[in-house]
């Protein structure tokens, strides 16, 4: 046992260690508090966003996604590394507080733990330190050698600094303990594997060196820790503080789009619609920006990015974050405070033209792959739609939209075709009659056809198949006919909120006049909008769900086998990811005789968007290298499939186009689920 004073109790040049401890602590706390205050001011500048409803669900999510880190292993090794570091930190939190209080000359924790608890904790601590150290080294090596593609554009410097810092913290702590063990005389009491092992290196070291080494390790650790604390809110590691709150405050309402303003009722009352400056976002959207870890999982899954469009969700978030920090700097006055006189400064506050391009914003298909991956639950879609809203209001949307919006407003469909012809497809069906419901009518199922299946020849066959199936199952149903207007799904996500509300109100008015039990839609977009966007909560089913239930009830009796081939099911974004319907279509498929089903590598919540059922129909992104649908059909081929089954008319159209463009008509076919079911009846 060597005589020794605790490093905080020793004096250095006559000054007791804890004085330096307090000094360093105060500086760090002041700086940290200053930065946090600036970040808080940034958040306060954002708009209102109520996030405290359904506390119980939030707590559950907090536990599952925040504590158990359930999304992390979706990228397996990176996930494991992160979970190790995360849990390591949880365990080591106590240790850090302990050391800090020691540095301040107030070692309270020692008083709270008895010897056995201390020994147990020491073991946990050491194991954690080894694991964290190994994880950090692995992470650094992986980043440096394997260079995962999704890290491109992320800050490597910051990553290495932090990983290095954490490793340094581990090493200095182990060193401190190791030397401490030697100083104490190293009895075999403590089962501290790390420090025990490291202490072997110091067995021959002389006392004065041991004392110095002890103090050095201690203070280096304290300084590194305090530095780390101050470094956190400066970059992507702010997520260490904000991630858990962000997960708790996450959006619960899947599938819908946020209202233009949470705190203002009535679209007409809102002076500025949409976002063009950083402070137009809500505080939660700004919190998202703090929380981005630059992991790149979002971009890795983004179909727009894969197609070569200028959109990268990660890059979008990083750019907005940097812009936000620039507008609310740590030192100096904020360019975003109030209206300025300098026209140039005002100009620089605008997002478009400075930070983001409009094509980036129009590139998004709102498929939700990014939000499904993000381990810290950043919301991308609402931000993009908010920005689109402002572009539309300021007449900065692609001109191709003008006609489409005008047609939707005036004729209730994007083609500009007369409403009187909306149910013409139904009257042309052979051997079947379709009831067109009038006000006051009653029915079991209201079949909401929507615009494309009503007017587009290819999509009309899907509607015909649905009708045929319903007839064969003896279901009582009717359609709205000319009074049906477009569900407004595309319009809302393109950013024309006023037009969406117009369509929604007109549709709800029509629907209110009819008695029905459930609505069935042809297309997942209508399903999503009627279910999640409309202010009246209807009971809505997608046709695949209804058909599956009819099949399970025995009301549909397949007589024929399907055409021979290997089938695969493509999960449409608005049925799958946004609404969680993965199993029913598959059960339906499996009930068809002779059907061999394989799964694509990216299926279910990892399904790859076909390109979408809105913007891409009218506006091409010029930098696109390959169509998303083209990429997807190759995934089907890779899975060994010869037939792609879809349950969305837009997916159907995009895949048919892609197959034709690629000249793969002899190898691949695409068929709609309804048409497939009918072929067996």
């Amino acid at each position: 046992m060597i005589e020794m004073l605790h490093p905080a109790a020793r004096t250095y040049a006559g000054i007791p260690g804890y004085v330096f401890g307090w000094l360093a602590f105060s500086v760090a706390v002041l700086f940290f508090a200053h930065v946090m205050r600036k970040r808080y001011i940034l958040l306060k500048a954002g708009r209102a966003d109520p996030r405290l409803e359904k506390i119980w669900e939030r707590l559950k999510g907090f536990f599952v996604f925040g504590i158990l880190q359930r999304r992390q292993p979706r990228y397996l090794w990176a996930g494991i590394i992160h979970i190790v570091i995360f849990w390591g930190f949880v365990v080591l939190g106590l240790r850090s507080i302990d050391l800090l209080t020691q540095a301040l000359g107030m070692p309270v924790l020692g008083l709270l733990m008895d010897r056995s608890a201390e020994a147990f904790y020491g073991l946990m601590r050491d194991i954690a330190e080894i694991c964290v150290l190994v994880a950090c080294l692995w992470a650094m090596g992986r980043r440096f050698i394997a260079r995962p593609k999704r890290y491109e554009g992320s800050s490597h410097t910051e990553a290495y600094i932090v990983l290095g810092l954490i490793s340094f913290l581990m090493i200095t702590d182990i060193g401190y303990d190791a030397i401490g063990l030697v100083i104490e005389g190293g009895n075999g009491d403590n089962f501290a594997p790390a420090s025990g092992f490291a202490s072997l290196f110091f067995q021959e070291t002389g006392p004065s060196f041991l004392r110095s080494g002890h103090a050095l390790a201690f203070w280096l650790h304290i300084l590194a820790f305090l530095f780390f604390l101050c470094f956190l809110p400066m970059g992507k590691h702010f997520h260490i503080i904000t991630a858990l709150p962000n997960v708790f405050l996450r959006r619960l309402a899947k599938g819908s789009v946020k209202p233009v303003r949470w705190d203002v009722q009535g679209l007409e009352e809102i002076e500025k619609i949409g976002v063009s400056r950083i402070e137009d976002f809500t505080w939660k959207q700004l919190l998202d920006l703090f929380t981005c870890t630059e992991c790149g999982r979002c971009t890795d899954r983004c179909p727009a990015f894969s197609a070569g469009r200028p959109l990268s969700p990660k890059s979008l978030t990083m750019k907005l974050r940097d812009h936000a920090y620039g507008m609310f700097p740590l030192f100096g006055r904020s360019p975003a405070a109030g209206d300025k006189e300098d026209a140039d400064e005002e100009e620089r506050r605008e997002i478009f033209g400075n930070i983001l391009t409009e094509e980036e914003i129009w590139s998004c298909t709102t498929c939700g792959a990014c939000e499904e991956e993000c381990p810290v639950f950043i919301e991308y879609i609402d931000k993009i739609i908010d920005m689109r809203r402002n572009l539309i209001e300021t007449s900065n949307a692609p001109r191709a939209f003008n006609q489409v919006f005008m047609h939707l407003e005036k004729t209730g469909n994007p083609f500009g075709k007369p409403p009187s012809k909306r149910s013409a497809w139904a009257s042309e069906l052979e051997g079947m009659s379709v009831r067109v419901l009038k006000e006051g009518d009653e029915t079991d199922i209201l079949y909401y056809v929507d615009s494309y299946p009503s007017y587009d020849p290819r999509a009309q066959s899907v509607a015909a198949a649905v009708v045929r199936t319903l007839n064969l199952a003896g279901v009582e149903f009717g359609i709205l006919g000319p009074k049906e207007k477009d569900s407004g799904h595309q319009v809302r996500r393109m950013g024309e909120e006023g037009l969406f509300q117009l369509l929604m109100e007109e549709n709800m008015e029509t629907l209110k006049g009819i008695k029905f039990k459930k609505i069935v839609t042809t297309d997942p977009h209508a399903y999503n909008t009627l279910r999640n966007d409309y202010s009246i909560k209807f009971q809505v089913l997608h046709y695949s769900m209804l058909m599956n239930s009819l099949m399970e009830q025995g009301l549909l009796k397949p007589k024929r086998d399907v055409e021979p081939g290997i089938y695969t099911y493509h999960d449409p974004c608005y049925l799958g990811r946004h609404n969680g319907i993965y199993d029913e279509p598959r059960r339906l498929l499996k009930s068809l005789p002779g059907l061999k089903l394989v799964e694509m590598e990216r299926s279910r919540d990892r399904s790859f968007c076909c390109g979408g059922g809105d913007i891409i129909l009218w506006h091409e992104i010029s930098s696109e290298k390959e169509r998303p649908a083209g990429i997807r059909i190759n995934m089907a081929r890779k899975a060994g499939a010869g037939v792609i089954v879809t349950s969305c008319p837009f997916c159907l159209m995009h895949f048919e186009d892609a197959i034709k463009t690629a000249g793969l008509e002899w190898e691949l076919k695409v068929v709609d689920l309804a048409e497939l079911v009918v072929s067996t009846l």
């Binding site: 191709a400 091409e620 034709k660």
Partner: protein, 324 residues
Amino acid sequence: MTGDILVFVEQRAGSVREVSYQLLSKANQICAELSVRLTAVFIGPKASFLSSDFYKKADRVLVLEDERFGDFNCEIARDVMVGIIKEQRPAMVLVGHTPWGMDLAPAIAAKTGLPLSTDCVDIKIEAGKVKAVRQLYGGKLFARVVFKDESKGCIFTVRPGSFSVEGYPDRMGEIVPIEAPKDLPEPSSRFVEYVDTGAGEVDITQAELLVSIGRGVGEKERIEEIQELARILGGVVSCSRPVVDKGWLPKYHQVGTSGKSVKPKVYLALGISGAFQHVAGIAGAGTVIAVNKDKKAPIFRVADYGVADDLFAFSDAIKKALKK
């Protein structure tokens, strides 16, 4: 009905416009029917006047030759015509429905108080009453128009191409020089110059095969697929007006009255509805093959062959067929 049939003759840069011959031809028919005099009005240099023989197509040609007004000046033309109308009280005044005619005729009507029917495709006299036939809703409907009071005369602008130029024996051809109205105020508008927008990288009037696109192509970015089709077929890309209006192609590709008249051996009209201003530009085409999703599109009335299909599906099918 007494009173002359008065025809305003349009000349541009010294040559008489085709529509004026068409008007004279129709006027001749009316004059023969009503036994009235055919008077033409010409403003421009005598040299150009004499270089064509149109004056023989009228009984009288009132000629205003004034170096101030060699090019069309609406105010001068209006004042001249108004003067003649007030003095001579013609039964009908015929003007071409051209950009100049659209500027001139309503001005004459406003100043004289005579009733005006524009863009007529036919003029009839039934039971002593003058009736005009014109189109509504871009050609979807026809309307027969009558005047409340035609006793003091009436004015028509006639759509070019409505009447054909038919040979008929020369009329008197008396040339009557007239003078510019005295105390003529300085006209508030002045001709500056002509600009030929037709010059471009491609001369669609020389092509034997034109692959022409209309609004149906949907978006600028898809034009490339049709340009490729044209390349494969050995043709040239042209278009209808909406494509130029939207800035998808430069104006020298435009076929129609405000664009170019073309006479290819084959004219492939893809996604073109067939508005008459466009159709007027292909009057001289050999064979017209039209492709349009809408089976009721007016283009199918004038085409030789029709395909009711999406133009891109058609284009892809052609490309595939040729690959074999």
